[in-house]
Each structure stands twice: as C-alpha cells, then as structure tokens.
Amino acid sequence: MRKPKHEFFNKKIKDTTQFIFPFTVVISTWQLLTQCGIISENLIPSPLSILYTIFSLLSPKPLLLIHLWKSVYRLTLGYSLGVTLGILIGVAMGINKSLEKTFSPIISFFISIPTIAWVPLFLILLGLGDETIITAIFLGSFFPVIYNTLNGVKSVKKELVWASEIMGANQTTITFKVLIPGSLTSIIAGLRLATGYAWRALVGAEMLAAAKWGIGYMIYAAKAFYEIKVMFAGLVIIAIGGLLLDHLLMGYLEKETIEKWGLVAKR
C-alpha cells in the first residue's frame, strides 16, 4: 500500500530537521565561543566569518568558481578515464581465466600503493600541472574499479552462463547481457569506492602539483599567507563537494540502475 503524499512529505521534513539540528547546535556554540573570545579567532575563525570569506571569494571576482571548475575538470577527466579502462580490463580479466591468474596478483599489489606516492614520480616525468594531477586521479580510480569488476564478473552464477550457452548465445551476448548486468552491483560498489579514492587523490595531488588553480591548491596556498579563514572555507567546500559526489551522484546512479532493476533492496 502506498503512503499518502502528505505523510511522505512529513517524513521528509522530519528527516531534514533531524539532519540539520546537530549542525545548528555545533555552529551556534562555535559562533558563541569565538564571539566571547574563548576560542581565538586567529586559530579557529567563527562560522560567520568563514561564510563571509566564501562570499568574498565569490563576489568581486569569482575566484572560488575558477578553483572549483579546475578541480571538477581534472576529476571528471581522470575519473572517467580510470573507470572506463577499469571496467574494460576488469571484464576481460573476468572472462579470461589465464588473464586473471596472471594479472590479479599484480593488481592487488598496485592497489596497496598509496596513490599519492606516485605524485613525486609524475612530477619528474610530467611536471607541475594538470597532467600529473589527472594521472594521479586516474590511478586512484582505476585499480578499485578493476578489482570490483573482476570480483563481480567472477561471482555471476555458472548456471546462468551455461543456460545462455545452451540457448545459443555467443560470447558477446553473454558478456553484455549476462555477465555485465549480473556484476553490476559489484561494479557500482567499485565506482563508489573509486569516487572516494579519486576525490582524495585530487585534493592531495593538487596540494603537491597544482600550478595555480584547484581547490586543494587554494587551501595549500592559503597556508603560506596564514589565511586560516580561506583554509576553513576550502574545507567546507571540500566537505560539501564530497557529500554531493557520494550521496547525490552515486546515490542517484544506484537508484536508477540496480535499485530500479531490483538487484538490491531499496534502502
């Protein structure tokens, strides 16, 4: 039985207030403490002044938007490259046994390397700037996607493959109609994992290798001028960005694919 509409909205409102309430408490206490001078404004700026800083970064010249645009551009390029290649190689390894046996230990070795450790190497090979950062993001998202895709393809039931073989499906049909849809839950879990990795690689690599723009660079450069407000503003933006990526984007993807098709239970 479907719930009446107003009940649904009431629940939404209740959820939202429950989500916002702790922030109001924390932020107002924080504001009060800085106002009274218990916390030094030089060490921890008050929430209002952080908000003010965000606006000042936006309004005469939209610096913040340029920083954000640069970061999003790098993230999109590196991430989509990593995901595409990762899924392709993962599926190939899932289909071909000897390919899997040969390369899966190599991949689990590469997964355990912190992405940021590559950055100094790329700095030598590619120099400061976009190439290094994008490559780091690519590596950060590539390996988790391969790993999850491979596991997904391997976990597809043998009976399903046999059944479609008996019904005369060729390898292409089996791959696209059986193996990939069957492993989608795992692939999307990999995509979700990879967004986290890519997001972290972005911020880290931008601190070490950005030439002029980028949200990570903004925080790192602010340190040199002791602009603690800008650093906090950047942190707020990064938090919101990460939340949007993880909950809205990936949540939407999950809802539109695996939840809609009934592969996993709705949450």
Partner: protein
C-alpha cells in the same frame, strides 16, 4: 589432490612471467639508451639504490632506509591506536543510544568524505611541522571509517538476541561486552581495515608536505628534488609491501583469531 596442489603452485607463478618480462625489457631499453635513465631509472639501479640505503648509508648504527620506515610506522601506530580508542567508544555510544546517534550521524556523514590531507594545512598552522601534525591528520583519517562501521555493527544486532539476553537477566555491561561487541566484531574488523588503509595513505601524503626529515613519504618527495627516480620507485615498492604485510598479515591474523575461530562470520565480508 597432489596434482591439484601442484597446479595451484604453478598458477601462483603465473604473474612472474609478465613481471619479469616487463622488468627485462625495461632494463634492456634503459641500457641501450632508448629510455632516459635520469627520468626512468632501470630496475638494477633501483635495487642498488635500495641496497645502498639499507646497507651502506648509515646514521649512527641505523641504516637510513630503516629509519624512514621506522618513523612512518611509529606515526601509524600512534595515530591508529588513538583513533581506534576514540572511534570505537563513540561508535558504541552511537550504537546503543538513539539520541547520541541522531546527533552525531549527520556530522560524521558530512565530515567523512573530507580527505584527511585537507586538514593538513590547518593543522600545520596549529601544530607546526613534524610529528604532531602528521599523527593528528592520520588519526583523523582513520577515525571516520572505524566510527561508521562500529556504529553500524552495534546497531545491526538482531533485537531477539538482545531480548533473550535481557530475559536471562544480564546487566548492561555484560550485554555490551558479551553480546553486542562480539556481534559487531566483523564490522569492527572491516572498520579497522578501512581505517588502516585511509590512515596509512593519508600519513604518507602528509609526510610529503609536513615531514620532519624522516618518513617514507618524505623520502619519496625529497628524492624528487634531487631527481632520483630510483629512490621513488624503491619507496613505492616498500610502501606497497608494508601495507600488504599489515593487511594480509596482521589483520588477517586477527580475523583468524577472532571471528573465524568464534564462527561468527555472519556477514559476507
């Protein structure tokens, strides 16, 4: 049986083929000068460089490489234990008390996706270069996955189990330590695994921007300044090996000693 074992042994040797081929080609092309050795040093160079750092170059009695490894691991141990203690206690509180859960859950949801390294510049202003900053940032990074999983694990306990324990007349501490925590152990271990991975990665990253002369992250980043790619390659390999040892060795061992022995793998983890 015997044949199967033999086959398994052979199949573990499979990855050696492409790796050794790759290394051979790399070495060959570097030697004949197709690859610029200043940018991509060849495998033999990496080995000799690591050998140098391990045997020849010493400060006092201790080889330099071991000092780097030691200081990274020392930071990891402190950061991980501090954040484990805090995160597990908060997670248990959140798991058992509805109001605490409602208060902290949104905050953790917001703070969790922040990469640990984003805290580093601010903490550098507060605490300066060196150990305090690195350890704090590592602890922050490890904290969130552990809290999240602990809380989830404690909350996921089946009501019937709690009810029956209560009917048998156990008090609160017994309920917590004998029922809730054992139930949540698989989730806790997942949290530790994730926390260890995030803490270690963040630690290495922070060592690059805030290190005090020691640490593997610092070693790698410093090698860039002197254009010594062989040290970077060697460092990357060592980082991977240490992490594999921690995850596949230490955590796996703990898993075997606890949840597998108790037979409570009630999750597919």
């Amino acid at each position: 049986m015997n044949l199967e074992n033999k086959q398994q042994k052979i199949s573990t040797l499979y990855p050696l083929i492409p790796v050794s081929l790759f290394l051979l080609f790399w070495e060959f092309f570097a030697k004949i000068g197709v690859i610029n050795q200043a940018l991509l040093s060849c495998p033999s160079q990496i080995l000799s460089e690591m050998w140098n750092l391990l045997i020849a170059k010493k400060i006092g009695d201790c080889p330099i490489l071991l000092l780097h490894i030691y200081s990274s691991l020392y930071r990891l141990v402190i950061a991980f234990s501090v954040s484990t203690i805090l995160a597990v206690s908060l997670g248990i509180l959140m798991g058992t008390n509805k109001y605490i859960y409602r208060f902290f859950d949104p905050i953790i949801t917001l703070l969790m996706p922040i990469p640990g390294i984003a805290w580093a510049p601010i903490l550098m202003l507060w605490l300066g270069f060196g150990d305090p900053t690195i350890i704090t940032v590592g602890a922050i990074a490890a904290f969130f996955p552990i809290v999240h999983n602990t809380c989830y694990g404690v909350r996921s306990i089946e009501k019937e189990i709690v009810w029956s324990a209560e009917l048998l007349g156990v008090n609160k501490p017994t309920l917590l330590f004998k029922v809730c925590l054992p139930w949540a152990t698989p989730y806790l271990l997942t949290g530790f695994k994730l926390g260890l991975a995030r803490g270690w990665r963040t630690l290495i990253a922070v060592e690059m921007i805030a290190a005090s002369l020691w640490g593997l992250g610092f070693m790698i980043f410093d090698a860039r300044d002197y254009l010594r790619p062989s040290i970077i390659y060697g460092g990357i390999i060592i980082l991977a090996l240490i992490y594999l040892l921690l995850e596949k060795g230490l955590l796996r061992w703990i898993e075997k000693k606890t949840i597998e022995k108790w037979g409570i793998l009630h999750e597919k983890t």
